[in-house]
Assembly symmetry: C2
Homo-oligomer: 189 residues x 2
Amino acid sequence: MVRQPAINARNRAPLSTERIIETALQIVDGQGLGRLTMRRLGDALEVEAMAIYHHLPRGKEQLLDGLVAHVAAAPVSPGARGGGAGDALRGWARGYRARLLEHAGVLPLVVTRRNPAALTETVASLREALRLGGAAEDAAAVTAHTLLGYVIGHAALEVRGTAEDGADRAVDWDARFDAGLDVILGGAR
Amino acid sequence: MVRQPAINARNRAPLSTERIIETALQIVDGQGLGRLTMRRLGDALEVEAMAIYHHLPRGKEQLLDGLVAHVAAAPVSPGARGGGAGDALRGWARGYRARLLEHAGVLPLVVTRRNPAALTETVASLREALRLGGAAEDAAAVTAHTLLGYVIGHAALEVRGTAEDGADRAVDWDARFDAGLDVILGGAR
DNA sequence: ACCTGAACACCGTTCAAGT
DNA sequence: ACCTGAACACCGTTCAAGT
């Protein structure tokens, strides 16, 4: 019988921070943030809950920070090449919105976990895209923040299912989002 | 000895939904959402925690819904009269932002509690302001949503303390917010 | 009608112990 | 080094009981 070095005695993959975060994300996406529990997460990892603390010494705080970093900080695919700066920004905004909606359960964490570093890369990439499009540094900073605020706020309105008025007339959120982009980016291409 | 009808045998004001919500808001503002506990809320109200369920049968869910309604749904003072539609909207946006930041602890709830009704009045008042300013109905709907999304998203970025770049150069959030308003409202007065 | 007390099933986290 | 088991101090909520 040959030993598999990466598999431990009980024949399962060893724990790792990455595997913990990904499993936690599955729980949040599938069952909601409220059901993300150290004990339940341990079950999903086929491990006692206390084992998690060996990889995340700061416990649940660190776990939640990890979730935010995983969905909000990762770079957004630049989208279609070849258009002007306006198209590039539209592509960025659509991609970031899609990511936030894919993991709607972590949105409350993205919104309020005090973790300035998490969005630094995001803002930086946005400003870079703007500078490449020829915008001045000051204008780029303002536009980047305005756009990011809009994308996050719009995603929040969507997951809330904000009612339009008394009637429950359905809202076309995709169209709404694009229309808002036009307002902010001034219809420029 | 004369009986005070509104005061019970132990000489304290009787519980009411309003008093419960307000006390809960004080705890959230002062100590953060994580420390809002039925037991702690009971202490603050000088009552056993279980008494709260008599007024809020749905328990903590209903309590959190009440907090959202209290900070997000109440009308915003219209601000200075006499300017054009642009000034009215700027006043509305500044007022709403101030309210959200005053109760930053409930922002995660505003963002993601599934409670479409809570923001209906808010959106309606916004669209009314726009129509009075002479905007067409369609354009008003788009602008209202764009503006509301921006205000909420910007407030979220602020309470997160989103870092600008590697250096921790301080951000003038007031100026940023106004600059974003100019982008969205097109500098129109 | 309004509040209490005890109880239940769950939390996050610590700490000593196992391998 | 990595994981377990038992324990502690908390949760939200139910339910019968008090006044």
